[in-house]
Each structure stands twice: as structure tokens, then as C-alpha cells.
């Protein structure tokens, strides 16, 4: 019965995802891109891919920063298409996931205000979000033009982000640092995403947790480790700056990291499959944390690819597809910046997540 309902609800979604799947860059295309002689070569190759349409901009304007901005339009289209064709509950989860970029845009706008940047300087650092947004481009512009952080927060009145930031404003005023605002934004957003997932039916919830749950776990674990390694925060602070919920990473793991316990124990308990590749790591240096992040994201990408095996009539398929796209866009951006800076392939290729996954 449940399967039958799933087929009915997700028939259009899975057909759309299947049709879009071929747009992902193939291994051969990645190899060509990595081998491209320079930035122009990358643009020429990308113009023959699904990103070609978004790069239809006068070449003189297509700086690496602009190119990175343009290719993000593709992700916006992917999200818009899948949100449109998904059943209503899945739609709210996809939209909540999509709002991750809205959070990033708010963060960029706040940093722009703090740095006294102009709107033109900020615009192309934003994620293009033409649809399914709570904070419009006009509001972001108003935030930047407001000239003060409290004014910028005020612009967000009526959105879910206002109360999150408003509660943190006192600390901003005292410390003159965006850190408390950004942490409040991150925590609040992820709580909402978690709640959206919990609002799904049983089967969808379990499937969604396999991807979104892992995304939240990775963030939570890395936050805890970074707060300890880089910021030297106290146990109580780390706990307050992390999420109380998780899928594979438990609150006990976070508390273990927070009180300065054996971080490796927490990491390998949650992800035993990393025990071999990261053997001996203590996760107490920036380099080790970088490696851990790479390994976790590769694990997530592999899990997303596995979603395409077996029954496709569930929320896991669109979620896996948008995540694969997100990491592909991240990799293309990295490639563009590396080629523009004439970085040798040996230096940046190992950092790409999607080609080797």
C-alpha cells in the first residue's frame, strides 16, 4: 500500500530526476576539464555542458568570480524543477534544504555590511535564487544598503531568520563580531530543516535522514571539532553552539568532543568505514580536519549515488540528486578558481569530490 502510494506520489519526481541525471558531468568530461590548459579552456569545455546556457554572458564580463556566480544558476534551476514536481511534504523539505543558500546569502550580506562593501561588490558573491525564497534579492540589497548590522537584521522582519538574528544582536553589539549572529543563523536553520524532515511520513523520513541527516551530522561534528581545535571554546560553549539532534552522530559524540575526549573515538563510532583510511588521526590539527571533511563528503556523495539503486519512488532520489549537483557546482567553482590562478592539476584535483566519487 505504502509502496503504491509512493509510486503515485513520486512518479513524476523520479521521471524528472532520471531525465536530469544525464546532465551531471561524466568522468570523461571531468578529465577534460582537469586537463584544460587554462581558464578559457575550462569555459570552452563548460559551454558544451549543461552549464553552457548559464555562461552565455559577454566574455569580457566573465571573470572567474562571475563565472562561478553564473554556474550557480544551474543549481537554482535544478532545485526549482524538483520542488515543482515533488509531492507537497517533499517539496517543503526540498525548499528547506534549498534555503541553506538563503542562509549563506544572508551571511554574505551581513559580512558586506560589516566590511562596508557596496551592493555591486556583494551581488556576485550571492547565490542566485530566483524562486522559492523567503528573502528576495531586493531585501538583500536593502540589507547591504542599510549600512548597519542592526538595520540589516531589521530588513528581515517577517521572515524566519529575523528572530534568530534578533536574539543574537545584543551579543553582536557587545562583541562587534558576526560570529554569534552566524552561529545563531546556522543553528536555527538546521533545526528548521530537521523539523521539516521529521514532518515527513515514516518511509520518507527514514530515507531523507540517510542524506539530510548525514549532512547535518557532518556539519555538527566538524563544528564541534573546529570550535575545539581553532577557537578553544569551553565544553559548555561547544555544546551550546552545536545541535542536540543527529542521525548517526549522537549527542554523546558531540559532548565527548566538547569535553576534550578522544575525538577519533567519536568519529569512528559514527563512521566505522573511515577507520582504515584515517587510521592514526587525532583530529587535533587543521590538516587532519580538512582530511576528515573530504572523507565525510565523499562518503555522503557515495551514499547519494547509492540512492539511485533500488526503488526510486521516495524522497531520497530528489534529495540525492540536488546534493550531487551541489557538490558538482562546488567542484566546478574550485576548478574555475584553480585554473584562473594557474594552479597545477596535482594541487587541486585531489580536492575535487565528485570526479573520483
Amino acid at each position: 500500500m505504502a509502496i503504491g502510494m509512493g509510486v503515485q506520489a513520486y512518479a513524476l519526481t523520479q521521471a524528472t530526476v532520471r531525465a536530469l541525471y544525464v546532465d551531471l558531468l561524466s568522468q570523461a568530461q571531468w578529465e577534460d576539464l582537469i586537463r584544460a590548459p587554462d581558464y578559457d579552456g575550462v569555459l570552452a569545455l563548460l559551454s558544451k555542458t549543461v552549464y553552457g546556457a548559464t555562461l552565455q554572458v559577454d566574455r569580457s564580463l566573465l571573470t572567474p568570480r562571475r563565472a562561478a556566480y553564473q554556474i550557480r544558476f544551474h543549481l537554482a534551476e535544478v532545485y526549482a524543477k524538483l520542488i515543482r514536481v515533488s509531492p507537497s511534504r517533499a517539496r517543503s523539505v526540498l525548499a528547506a534544504l534549498w534555503h541553506h543558500y538563503e542562509v549563506d546569502n544572508i551571511r554574505v550580506a551581513l559580512r558586506g555590511v560589516e566590511a562596508g562593501a557596496t551592493w555591486d561588490q556583494v551581488l556576485h558573491l550571492l547565490y542566485p535564487m530566483p524562486r522559492y525564497v523567503e528573502v528576495t534579492l531586493a531585501q538583500l540589497e536593502k540589507m547591504v544598503r542599510s549600512g548597519s548590522v542592526s538595520g540589516a537584521v531589521n530588513v528581515l522582519k517577517g521572515t524566519q531568520y529575523h528572530s534568530l538574528l534578533d536574539h543574537a544582536l545584543t551579543r553582536y553589539e557587545e562583541e562587534r563580531s558576526l560570529f554569534p549572529l552566524e552561529v545563531a543563523l546556522d543553528l536555527g536553520y538546521r533545526r528548521n530543516l530537521w523539523d521539516a524532515v521529521l514532518g515527513l511520513g515514516k518511509q520518507d523520513r527514514e530515507t531523507a535522514l540517510m542524506t539530510i541527516g548525514m549532512v547535518l551530522d557532518i556539519d555538527n561534528l566538524l563544528w564541534a571539532l573546529r570550535f575545539r581545535v581553532y577557537h578553544h571554546l569551553s565544553e559548555a560553549e561547544i555544546i551550546n553552539y552545536t545541535l542536540p539532534m543527529g542521525y548517526e552522530v549522537r549527542d554523546d559524540d558531540i559532548r565527548l568532543v566538547a569535553r576534550g575526549g578522544d575525538s577519533a573515538q567519536a568519529v569512528f563510532r559514527a563512521y566505522p568505514e573511515l577507520r582504515e583510511s584515517l587510521r592514526g588521526a587525532l583530529f587535533s590539527t587543521g590538516e587532519e580536519l580538512g582530511k576528515l571533511e573530504q572523507a565525510l563528503l565523499r562518503l555522503l556523495i557515495a551514499r547519494c549515488r547509492r540512492m539511485f539503486i533500488g526503488s526510486p519512488f521516495h524522497i531520497g532520489l530528489p534529495l540525492a540528486y540536488v546534493l550531487l549537483n551541489e557538490y558538482e557546482v562546488r567542484d566546478v567553482t574550485l576548478l574555475i578558481e584553480a585554473k584562473a590562478a594557474r594552479t597545477p592539476a596535482s594541487a587541486f584535483a585531489p580536492l575535487l569530490l565528485t570526479p573520483q566519487a
Binding site: R171, A236, N240
Partner: protein, 647 residues
Amino acid sequence: MFRSQSMIRVELVVPEHDIVAVTESLAESGTFEVDARNPGESSVSQANAWDQQATVYAALAQRISSVMELLAVDAGSPPAEALRWIDPDTVARDVDTIEREVKGPVQELQDARRKLESLSRTRSQVVPLYGLGVDLQRLRNTTYLYVILGSMPVDNVARLQASLEHIPSTLVRFGERDGLATVILFGMKRDAEILMRAARSAYLTVAELPDEYQGTPAEVLEALEEGITRAREHILSLEETLHHLHATRIRRLRHLHWRVQASLTLAQTIAGFRKFRYSYLLSGWVPEPGVERLRRSVVAVSPETTIEVAQPTVQERAVAPFQFSNPPLTRGFQQLVTIYGYPNYEELDPTLLLTLTFPLIFGVMFGDVGHGLLLVALGALLLSRRVRALRSMAGFGTVIVACGVVATLFGCLYGSLFGFEDVIDALWLRPLEQTTDILLASVIFGVGVLTLGMGFNVVGAALRRRWGDVLLDRNGLVGILFYWSLVGLGAGVLNAELPMPVGALAAVAFVTAIVIWLSERLKPLVEGHGFKRADLGMGLVEGFFELFETVLSLMSNTLSYVRMGAFAVAHGALSLVVFILAEMVDPGKSIGYWIVVALGNLVVIGFEGMIVGIQTLRLEYYEFFSKFFTAGGRPFRPLSLAKVEGR
């Protein structure tokens, strides 16, 4: 009426010292569209000081708009007199003065509001502690205990408790308001730093009690109430000051706003002109009747300016703007055309045809005397602009009136009044009873409209002297012949009386089909360019599929008009449903019956009227326009210094 206002290409060579006056004069005339395309080679780089001027004006505009926002002044309508360039230094001095006047009270007001907010927040933090008979100040000054009183997001309370698991402490939660909980955190003095860091990381905002607010929560609350009253009074007096400033500065601000906006547009426009050593070259489009007036006004401000006027070349005509020349009554229909697209400069304007066919198609589908008259009344209301909320739709008033009039006429023909079929006699037929007749009549009407569209295409092609299209296009003369022969064959199948034998019709259809098949090859021959031989094989295959598509589209376009009859039937049927419902509600036909009938009629008018409107638009756009209208043009946009946001 069917063509664009004739456009003339105008080029002006303006001495540098007159460029502002000439540009102002061009804008004032309202008849000059700047041609943004490169007008030719020049000896001097285009980069000039006007770009910098534009930047200066943009910054001034931003400052003015900020002050206007602070004083809640809107831009108002553009002034009646012609807008002129204004010296930026004069503006800067004025803006400096107004900013000085405004910013002080505004800053003070913001501070006062912040203070009020802070007092209110403190009050809401203290309210839950009202019954506590303890001096809050003393609570803070204990020897061994460390106490934090404040509020924090409800979502963070449990996390804070968890984070202090290993620290001797107690978190007491009192009340909750707007997602914030009032809490008191008790701990040991020696753990003060840990407790404070934990509290801050959980976004606990410590209640700051100024010195004057001492005592028990009840006493503090009383003092807070007094403080809040004082803060409110202060805010009121500052608001009055700002209100006074608003009243005295509004005219000046609006004046500056429009003049600076005009100067900004002027600077941006001049920056786009081709610059020579001592002169500028301007080129653009002017509607023919306005050329002389433009010449006179330019010469009046700059006698040294040279003006060259020329009819556009063939290439230029392809990019010339289109300006409608329709009577005012057709403006609503013109808007419907522009929603589809603007005619190309050389193309025929379909507005008048739409004005005739749109109400007709609508009326056939929505024939009812009562509903039609209500639509007339609604259209008249829109035209009168009496209802503020409907003013933006005033342009469609004529469309609705025309649709209402024709719907009323068809109501007489169908004998229908507010759905009652037995009050007036049908002058023609009753759609519900003579369904086949109305459907057949719709198809015949469709054949007529489509033929009209194809005929319009023939006339348009003839005016452009494209004789190949006139004769051989699938929407040209051969196309019309082909279509009518198909219509004749269709009528023959239905045993209709035909003016010629079926065999002859089939022969005409066959021959014209062959011509359409080969039309892309034959058109150059007709136009004197010889037979097109290149890619003959592929061309023939493509031609065959185009012929196939032509047959399919002619059939589907024609059958699309069946919906006219179908909606006429549906209109009657819906009214019938209303009466059935009314009788179910009140079989005695008293007040309940009439309420249902009235509500039902409103639903029919609103709901079905909208659907019929959409269907009419569909028939016009997809069936009718596709026969002759490419909509590849662009509107004539004269230079204006009074740019209104959102227009």
C-alpha cells in the same frame, strides 16, 4: 491604423557647449528615441566626463532618497514644467542642510525607540518574577552565589542545561513570551566565568537593570512603567519635530528628487552619445509628424546644431521602433496585442481586427442579456476610475464594455436573461436545445476568422512587396485556396450542398498542396531570384513535413473554434445548475431561492467570465495571430527625463 506611425531617422551634430540644452529639448519634445546602436566611426574616445557626472548624480539621488525615506516623503508625480539639468554643487549644499536638520532628530528618535525597546524587554523579563519578594540588586551581590537573570530563546534552554551538566548550577525558568524564556541561572561564584560563557553561548541576554530600578520585582516594575511612559513622551515629541520637518521640506525634497533624477538621466544619455573633438553626434528615431516641431525646438536652443533627416533604409526599417496609431477607444485591445508582442515596424497592427473579433468571440460564448449588462456596468466603473483599487485596470474598461455589449446582443439572440430561458424570446436559437447548430455555426465562424487572418497576411506581404509570400506562402493565396478546398471537402463529407463537384475540390486541394510543398523552392523564382536548387532532396523532405504540419494545424485551428459553441452550451447548463440548486434549497421559491440564484449568477459571471475571457484570448493568440503576426518588433520609447519607478 494598421501601420506604425511613420518613423524618420534623425541625426544631429551638436556643438559641445549646447549638448545639455539640446538633449533637454529632445526630451521635452517627447518624440525622440535615442538609437543606442553605434552611429558610426568617431575620432575621439567615447569615455567622457559625463560618466563621472552620472556617478555624482547617482550618489546625490541616493542621499536624497535616504532623507526622503527618513522623513517618509514619497516622490509624488513628476512636475508639470519641463525638467532641467541642475548644478550638482547646488544640490549638494541643499542636501547637506536638509541632512543636518533631519539626521539629528532621527538619530535621537532611534535612540529613544531603542531605549523604549530595552525597557520593555526588561519589563517582560521581570514580569514573570512579580511575586518574588527578593531585592534583585541584593540577589546579584551575594557572597558565594553567582546569579544571572535574563531571557533567552526557548529552543536553547534545554541545551544550556545540558551544557552545564558538569558544573554545579541550577537554571530556573519562569515565563515565556515571543519565543523568549525568562530565566535565572544560579551557580557558584568561583564558576562565574564558565557560567557566563555558557549563558552567552546559549544567547542568554542578561537583564540590565539600571541603578534607578532597584528593589523587589514589583518595585522594579513600577519604576520601569514610569521610565517607559517618559520614553514614549520623548518619542512623541521627536516625531512631532520630524512631522514638522516633513511638512516644511517636502516640496524642496521632491523638487530636488526630480531634478537630480533628470540630471542623472541626462548625464547617462549624453555619456552614450558619440563624442567628437568639439561636438556630439546624436542619432535616433522620430515619428514623421513630430520632425518639424523637433527641428524648430532644437534650432531655438542651438542654432549651430546641424539636423539631418532621412527616410530609413531597408536595413534600418528592420530595427525601427513601432508606434501605434489607433483611436483611443481601442487602447485596451492594443494592450492585449502588446501582451502578445509588438508588431515589427513593417508589419500590420492587428489591434483593429482584435477589437472586432475579441468581443464577438466572447459574446458568443457568454451570451446573456443580464450578465452582459453587468459586464457593461463593470467596464464603465473601470473606465470611470472611481474605485482606487481598480484604477490600474482602467485600460481594460473598454474591452469589458465591448464584451458586455456583444454578450447582451447574443443574450437577445439566445433568449437568455440571468440564466432564465423563458423570460425573453430567442431571436436566433437556444444553445442548450440546438447544440449541433451552435457548434456548426462556431466552426463556420472559425473558418471565417482564420480566412481573415490569412487574408491579412496576404495584404501585409503585399505591402512589403514579398510576392512569393503573397502567392505561395501557406498562409498566402495558395494557402487560402488549399484551406477552402479542404473546408469544401469536409462539408461534402457532411452532405452539404457544394458550389462545385467534390472531384474538382479534391483536384484544387491536391494542386495547392503540391505548391505549398514546393513553396520554399518556388518563392525565390516568383521574386526573380531563380529556382532554389541547393539541398533539393532535404528541402523536399522538409517541405513534405511542413505540408503535413500545415494540414494538421489548419484542422486543429478550425476545430478549436468549436469551443465557442461548447461554452455557449456550458453557459446555459451552468445557469440550469444554479436553478436546480436554488430549488433544492428553497422549493417554495421564496427568499432562499432568490439568494441562491443571485449568488449563482455572481459565480457564473466571475468564474465562467474569467474562463471565457481566457479562451477568447487563446483563440486570438494561438489560432488567429499565428496566421499573420510575428510580433518581432519593439515599442517606440522616446527620451524622457521624468522616469517614474515601476513604469
